[in-house]
Assembly symmetry: C2
Homo-oligomer: 646 residues x 2
Amino acid sequence: MANHTITFTLADSATTAVQVPTGTLVAEAARQAGVEIGQPCGGQGRCGRCIVQVTEGAVRRRSTLRLANEDLEQGFALACQTVIEGDVAAFIPPQEKIERRLTTDRVAAEVSVPPTYDYSYTQTVRRVHLNLKPPSTDDQTDDWGRLETSLRTQLGINAASISLGLMQKMSTIVREGKWRVTAVLAVDRGEQEPGPARIVMLQPGHVDEYSPLWGIAVDIGTTTVTLWLVDLVSGQVRAQVAEYNGQIARGEDVISRIVFTGKAGGGDEMRALVLGTINGLLDTACKRVKASPQEVVKATIAGNSTMIHLLLGIPAGNIRLSPFVTVVNQPPLLTGAEAGLAIAPDAIVDCLPGVASYVGADITAGVLSSGLNTAEEVTLFLDVGTNGETVLGNRDWLVTCACSAGPAFEGAGVIHGMRATAGAIEEVWINSGTCEPVIRVIGGGKPKGICGSGLISLLAEMLLTGILDKGGNIPKDAASERVREGEHGPEYVVAWGAETETGQDIVISHVDVDNLMRAKAAIYAGFTLLAEQVDFKLEDVHKILIGGSFGKYINVEKAVQIGLLPDVPWERFEFLGNTSVRGAYHALLDWRERENIKQIADRMTYIELSADNTFYDAFMSAMFLPHTDLSRFPSVSAALSKSSSS
Amino acid sequence: MANHTITFTLADSATTAVQVPTGTLVAEAARQAGVEIGQPCGGQGRCGRCIVQVTEGAVRRRSTLRLANEDLEQGFALACQTVIEGDVAAFIPPQEKIERRLTTDRVAAEVSVPPTYDYSYTQTVRRVHLNLKPPSTDDQTDDWGRLETSLRTQLGINAASISLGLMQKMSTIVREGKWRVTAVLAVDRGEQEPGPARIVMLQPGHVDEYSPLWGIAVDIGTTTVTLWLVDLVSGQVRAQVAEYNGQIARGEDVISRIVFTGKAGGGDEMRALVLGTINGLLDTACKRVKASPQEVVKATIAGNSTMIHLLLGIPAGNIRLSPFVTVVNQPPLLTGAEAGLAIAPDAIVDCLPGVASYVGADITAGVLSSGLNTAEEVTLFLDVGTNGETVLGNRDWLVTCACSAGPAFEGAGVIHGMRATAGAIEEVWINSGTCEPVIRVIGGGKPKGICGSGLISLLAEMLLTGILDKGGNIPKDAASERVREGEHGPEYVVAWGAETETGQDIVISHVDVDNLMRAKAAIYAGFTLLAEQVDFKLEDVHKILIGGSFGKYINVEKAVQIGLLPDVPWERFEFLGNTSVRGAYHALLDWRERENIKQIADRMTYIELSADNTFYDAFMSAMFLPHTDLSRFPSVSAALSKSSSS
């Protein structure tokens, strides 16, 4: 057999060459050349981490899995699936470039200021400089009268209002500023003429007009609360923080939370818990930019209907009782003080409009930020959270349903689960020969636990490598010390204590797997039933938009493999990250977007799935990896038979 | 000398006759006939309590003091000043009829519902019955949406708002009422079409539409707080209560109160004190009608500017510092909860508009209720309280000034002073021979103390009987055991301990007299200077309207005698009682009256008296009984020379 020279060029431009016979895998050639190429899946062409770029010479690709056509045209190839058929020059890209290239990896959309944002037109708060006439014995007008006069003569505002709280502080502020003050006004931007203005904040002197004016966009998830701190002048997100909802201690899902509020003082405690979480996040975010929470003048809040009720201390009891009605879907505007937020007491607090008991403002905000409401083609929007909500539709129609998925994909309800922050395992590859895992950790340090995307990845890898069977069981006969009997039954050790931040083994147990399967089964049952209800074939869907608190990446291929997402071509998927907080951010910046969310709420049709047994049947069918009906998952079926035959 | 028969007919129609010679006083004849006629002044023709009606026969009146022409035509005569010149028949009227007849007694105007009151047009709160559609699985609209729909379809109200607090209670209320509820709405009555409505109260079921809907009118005086509980459906005042302002413990006048708020926590304490007083009065008033304070849906509040600032926790410091400006003269509408009142949390709280630091809402409300703002002729309005405010003008112009009078005329700052409630001595007559007093006590029981009208009466009687000299000193050589040296210097015993409720002597001391003289001097200086400022001669004034917390009666003659009121014909005086709370009552009932108060505030010109030494000079000149310049008081001068010659 002819020998060929293969020359590897590394990212730092160093080169090295090796002689190999025809038919040698590029991966093997690299090993012989001493070039390190990651192969977490053990060379099965599954993980796509061994990508190289063939710049010259003849190769043959056994598999092109996970590579897009344009990548193939540029010579990209999987080292473990590509054989050498002549002299070859190959470039080894750095790892982070590989990750961007993989079509099954979906990276959460970056947050950039919407191009339509115009602080002086789309923003409903306005910072103005006022020069008040100082009083004298000839002009004994009251302080408030001076402020009103200044607003009228300088800005044409004829109707101004102020809270008692600010009235109490006003005389000190105007004198401290020597009758020069900065006011933040809440205004109606829809008006042609300056409409009525409410004074939200008063500061002595003239504050730099380009200095930040703070707002927050908040998503109250049943499991995770997310807060973005935004400079309303530039529109930029200046800090993003998230934390588990403090209410988790009183129930993992909305139903148990509602039940808890039925106890004496339960509603007050629930309210205090979530306020504690939000105010804590606010504090963290403000510290990062050296601002005070009291400087925040506007907040938009999304969340499911139960979360909004609990936040506002409104009884949620009827949400869980037939006929399942909320007290309010479109709460009135509140102030910071009324809402109990540690922001400016007179700040605008806007709880975004929801649709029904189980389709709240998180979904209307998500629909807005996903762009589903303006899509031409039929699009599916999935919010993968404690409540799995689905919206199907386009710019002409929108239907929605909800199911209780549980908090597993947010890392809660799983022993070593965690939020998608530094230290979370966000992707896992398992060598099918050795059962040894390779992990990717957010931030790159030692792992602390596993976040949602890591759990999806882990489950899929375990399934493909036989550590998990289709029924979700961990076989006891696995020939690896990583598979063992743990406290909660059979478990798989993802990381040994010696490698972890905590010093403890990070494992996934049978119980964790069961929770994850329930979550994915509920979500899958939800969107498939919704499509059936409107006689739409899921395979015809133009796009599938995925929202959720997974972190930055989600591996769509693996999510399909476990049966969480439908088996449609990967390029149709878009991973949007937390669509709810993103929608709240759009509403925070632009009153027209706020209007759009209201329109979404008004025109969305809610379909109740719990009305008969259909949901239960669909759920039970989905309690399998990927599904009892394998014909729904042709690509997974192929991969499974390939992996079991290898 | 010829004997004549004089026949007396008593109120119970019994008759008795006696023979007396020509020239006998009717009073003497009555004594001989065994008919009791009150002569508290000792037969000097001063008190007017010995009135009889001569129905037949010849008499000659030595004096007609205190009798109007029409009374003379009807035969009324003073028994102690009328001699018998033939056979006479005389009727002895019952005492209460006499009191009504005396032109110098001014009885506080009765409170009657204004004839223009129309609950369905002039009232800004409205009670409505709503029938909500119950929810079903086919109609999962939220509770608030059902309420909005009901308001729209049943009442044509398209924009309704609700507080978070009511939103929290709503779901329970609508279900308790089986989807039939009673709502109290705050509405804009000026609108042609139903304008926006704010929900003030929600109750389960349909409450009887004629059952009371409660409102309160409040006057916060520096010394006395007055509260009227009003049924807004009928417009009737159902309870009137008053109490000393709890802030008195922290200073008697507005200046010392303001100084107190400068201390740490001082403002909060002041606010709590007055709220304690108001909420206590509210409780008392509500108990009388078996209502709950929480049922009160609307409050209008009058008071001087300092009182309103302290009520609202707004710093009042600049009120006492040049250039003497308030923070706010026309406070925004508040809710019960914001104001800190123990009424319905969402009740309308309307602090009425004031004019300046020393002319507050008590005066604008007083001007309204006195009718000064619509008077054709130039009229003087005096508010005799801790702050003596004066308004001069008519429907075309209004000028006003203020002076610090102190709380003496409200019974505070006087050892045995008290408010005009049961047990207060409200009138005193002193026998010039014996120095023995006759007193009239509110409620008729044993005396507890002396109220404002009693103090005026007492001072005048003491002056006329020589127990007090023109300088306000109690001579040490008086030949009565009632004049003695007390703890605070010379004093006069008005009632011995054996006759009083408390068992202690009720006295008036030299210090008390001094306080009363300062108060009357300040008030007199105020209105005379105001008239001078606008070049108006006080003797040309058409009417003098007197407001203040004196109780039901004020003896105008005596008030003139001590130099509190100007020496003009008695028929020009009108005693209106508490004009401030009365104005608040009108504003409570009628939005047009509320508008009128605002117009009064807007058009009233405030004249600052403290600008130069003029006020001090005028004040010092008035620190005499009645005044250093006796030519200003011709009638008093005559009475004094008569009494000293008798």
